[in-house]
Every structure is written in structure tokens, then in C-alpha cells.
Amino acid sequence: MNARPYGCEDLLRFYREMLRIRLFDLKAAELFAQGRMAGNIHTYVGQEAVAVGACQALEPGDLITATHRGHGHCLAKGGRADTMMAELFGKATGYCRGKGGSMHIADLGLGILGANGIVGAGIPIAAGSALASKIKGGREITLAFFGDGAANEGVFHEALNMAAAWRLPVIFLCENNRYGVSVSIDRVTNTADIADRAKGYGIPGVVVDGNDILAVCEAVAAAAGRARRGEGPTLLEAKTYRHRGHYEGDPQSYKPAAEIAAWKERDPLDRLKKTILAAHPDAAAALAGIAAAVEAEIAAAVRFAEDSPYPEPATVTSDVYAADNERSVAR
């Protein structure tokens, strides 16, 4: 990891954003295990460098689509920890007023077009958002996060082809964490790199170390430049690893223990911390300050979520349509 193009402040900001995700998800996992949260959660622990690296290379007006493992993407794009935590609790103060939950968090104001419960579904949505930008002549671009499993969905193919044919301002960022739920990517594809598929669309395909935030940031910056110049999409493949199960409670019996250990050695936060301290030995205090601030932010988010009310029963039939839903069927 070469820190040179980035100043100490940049690196500390990166670290802070990654730590927000790490602590948010570890806290969410803890609360989930205690039975204090409904539904299911899929944590982003181990993949933080991808979302943060990507979003740090984007502009505020840019858009993203996320996945079922979307907490990291939302936070990295500027999402609020408290509003997210409230949504995970199903509270009225959550991003979706409790209607969406962990897998369906969106903040359209921040350009977060939604996490998604359907594997691969965000990929064509990102292409559509990029199409809108192209038609409007806007400067903004869209980035689709998706996993290695999603890369085998038909929508991947349809969206990449269309985006390439129309030179849409979009970045397709595959987070290859090696497992589609329980199934190793090696068992369901015949190639080492998903980025190889770019050739089939006539677009660049780039493999990047997804646990190296600076490498991710640079690769996304290059792809963003290409997209903004009207040269069309890029397929990026960030090689990374999820430390925890597919969902909380997943025993991960399909993963070799040595593999998990080896990837934990390459933890993206530890790596960035080392890089920072190597380049800026006096940053230790700043790092400690960040840790304290982020811990406080997450603790406050949990308090906020716990103190918030559940949604009013009457809201169950609101928001189905833009106009009030007269068709709502009484019980």
C-alpha cells in the first residue's frame, strides 16, 4: 500500500469511514445475537476497503446501488449510523420508516438507490440511473456494488452489455469475497477472474486488491474519469473476503479455517493503520481519537434506535403508491 498520493488527513478520513462500518456491523451483529433486532443481517466486516475506497473516489452527486450486504455501502456514501440502526430495529425513525429493514436501506438524497434483497438486482438499476444522467447531460455517474455470486445472474450480462453499447457513465464494481452464500466462486465459474468478462462487452476489466483501500480508490477514480468523459463503463473486480457468515448465525462450515485466518491477516483496517503509521508516525493520537469518536457515534446510534418508537399501525398501508392507497384492502 503506497500512501504517497494521499495526505495524512485523507488517510485518516479513510480510516474513520472504514472504522464506522466495522464498528457498526460488529455492534449490529452483537445486538442481533442478543435477539434485540428483527430479520436477518449480512455484515460487511472484512470488505470495508471496497465501499470506502470506491465512495471516496466518487463525487457527492454520484449515485450507487448496493446489495443485501449493504450497510457498508450506505455508510461509505455518507449514510447516518443512527438512522440506519433505527431501520435495522424496525423503528419509525429509520431510513425507510421501518418498512425496509437491513436489506432495503436507501437514502436517495445521498445518491444511495437502495440496498437490495434480490441478488444482482442493483446492476441494471445502476445502468438505468446512468442512462438518466446521460440523457439529462449531468456530470454524475453511478456505481453498482455487487458480489461474485451476483456476477452469475443474467442481469449482470444484460446490464453490462447495454451500458457498454450505449457508453453509459457507470462503474460495475464486483466485490469478489469468494463465496456466493455457501458456494465457493471456484465451483460456479470456470475462470479465475470475473474481470475477464469485460472482454465480452468491449470494456476495460480491472482486477484490484479489495483489501487495499488506496488501490480501490485509484481504480475507481480511473473508472470514474472514463465514465465522466463519456467513454463508457468499466468492470472492476475487487478481490476481498467476508470475515463473518453470509448472514449472522451462519456457521460457515463451507469455509476452511486456514482460509479465514489467512484473510484476517490481510484485514483492510489493520493494513491502512500500518500504512498511516509508517508514513505519519505522529498520527497515533489522531487514530485513537477517531476510534473514540466512532465508538461514540455507534453507541449513540444504538441509543437512538432503542429510544425511537415503532411505526404507527396506520402507516402499514401508506407508501404503496405515490397517491394515498385507496385500494388497501381492509382485513
Binding site: N40, G90, G100, G101, A150, V181, T189, S253
Partner: protein, 324 residues
Amino acid sequence: MREITFSEATLEAMAEEMARDERVFVMGEDIARQGGIFGQFKGLPQQFGLDRVRDTPISETAIVGAGVGAALAGMRPVVDMHFADFITVCMDEVVNQMAKIRYMFGGQCTMPLVLRAPDGIIRSAAAQHSQSLEAWFVHVPGLKVVIPSNPADAKGLLKAAIRSDDPVLYFEHKALFPTKGPVPDGDHLTPIGKAAVVRPGRDLTVISYSMTMHRALEAAETLAGQGIDAEIIDLRTISPIDIDTIYASLAKTHRLLIVHEAVKAGGVGAEIAARVAEEAFDLLDAPIARIGAPFVPIPFSPALEKLVKTTAGDIVRAAQQLCR
């Protein structure tokens, strides 16, 4: 009779049919190495190998489409949809291929394909992992649709579906997997297209299936205490609907309540109500009543999710109204 879980009952059905006929195999996401996300495939790979119990890519059109192709080429595939909600990703394969191929080709082939679809509300799984979409497929000629409510029928219907030369959608409620019930020993089959009168009664007929069957049975106990004797019918198969069993019951009770977890609008209850109104109006002494979910996607928050779930209390109230 021995008691096993719904999940174990489906496993027995799979294992028995795979042992009985080597053309039977199963594929889907996370079924082999993980044993299915609800444990409903545990141990099958050890018994039959990873060739016949296959983990697939996350490629729904390929999973169902390849099931159709393998059936055309002489196999008897079972394919698993992980969550019933994901059928939406491969509707062409289900509706345009699997359902129509035999008829469209003038009967040249059979389509012995079973599509397993875990559905229903479970623990705040939210809008894209909680749906009950069974009524869509009742509208498609060429498909058969079964939807068991208990372990015995789970086993019997799955075995019958695997042996059927017609394509069968097998909906299994996610929250039913861990529930226990008696299952007969041996080669237990439940006929497709045959409803069961699970509780005889004389005052009204309550028709249901899958999870809400259990709510209906609870309600029947409460109603019995109030002097209302409900006859409970478990449809078990919703395409074709066993209309004769329904008419026979109405001839006794003259009152009809239909209950399902799926959205009420356009649901299976609507079809039954329409048929009864068209064909057996004279049997009725009261308007037909239906209970189903309100016309909203399934909300995440437990505070809202509970409002779309049918309770035994809802059924009791509706039955009281009908019998007033």
C-alpha cells in the same frame, strides 16, 4: 404415529424418491454444502453424492431452465428456488417453458419437474423474502401447485410431485420447516388435487392451506367453545382445486370463509369465491368471507409485519360474523 418435522419429512421424501429412481436429482443454491438454508437438504449429498445434489451458480433462469431441459432429456429434476420470491427472476422459464412445453408440442413430451419454493412470512425477512405468490401460478394452465401445511402432507405431496409427469410447484412455508407432526411410516403419498377435511363441522366451512391452516385449527377450537362448529378444509393442492370437496362441505354448512396469508386481492380465495358464487350459489346462506393480507408489500418492522399476518382471532371474528 412417529412425529418428525416438516423439514425432515421433505428430506425423507427426497431421499426415498432419489433411491427409488435414479433419474431424480436436485439442484439449487446452497443445497449441497450447506444443506439448504432451512436445513431441508441436510445429509442428501452424503447419501447421493454431489452429482445428484448440486450447488448451482446464483442463476435462477439457468436453474429452472436447465431443469426443464433435463426433464425433456429424460431426467426427473427437482429444483430449489431458495426463496419463493426469487421465482420472479425466472418467470419465463416457469411460465413460458415449464408450463407450456408439453401442450405446445402437442403432447410429445412430459415435464416431470418439481420446483420447490420456500415462501411466507418469517421473522421480519421483509418485502423481498416474505411473499406468498402461489396465486400467480394458479392462473397458468399447465402447472400444478401444491402447498402442504403439515409434515405428513409435506412428505406425501413432495413424493407425489416427484412422481408426477406434470410440472409441479411445491410451496413450503419457511416457518413450517421446524414444526413437528405425525407422519405415517413407509411409502406415504398424498394425492395431488385432493383436499382434506381435517376437522368435520356443521356450522361453517373454513378453507385454508399452508401456515394459516394452523390458525384456522386454533380458531376452530375457540369457536367450538362458543358453540360454533367449524368444518376445516386443508386444500393442499391449489391447482387443480378440489372443488367437489368444497361443495360437499358447503352442502352441510352453507357458510364459507377462505383464509390465506397471501394478499387477499386476486388470491386463491378470490378464485374459490368466484367459483362457488357461479356454480353453487344455492348452497350459501350467507355472503362468502375472505381473509388475506392487506394490499401492501410485507413490511420489515415487527410492529408493521404483525398487521399483515392472519391470526386465529381474525378467523374467529370472521366466523362469528358469518354465523350470526
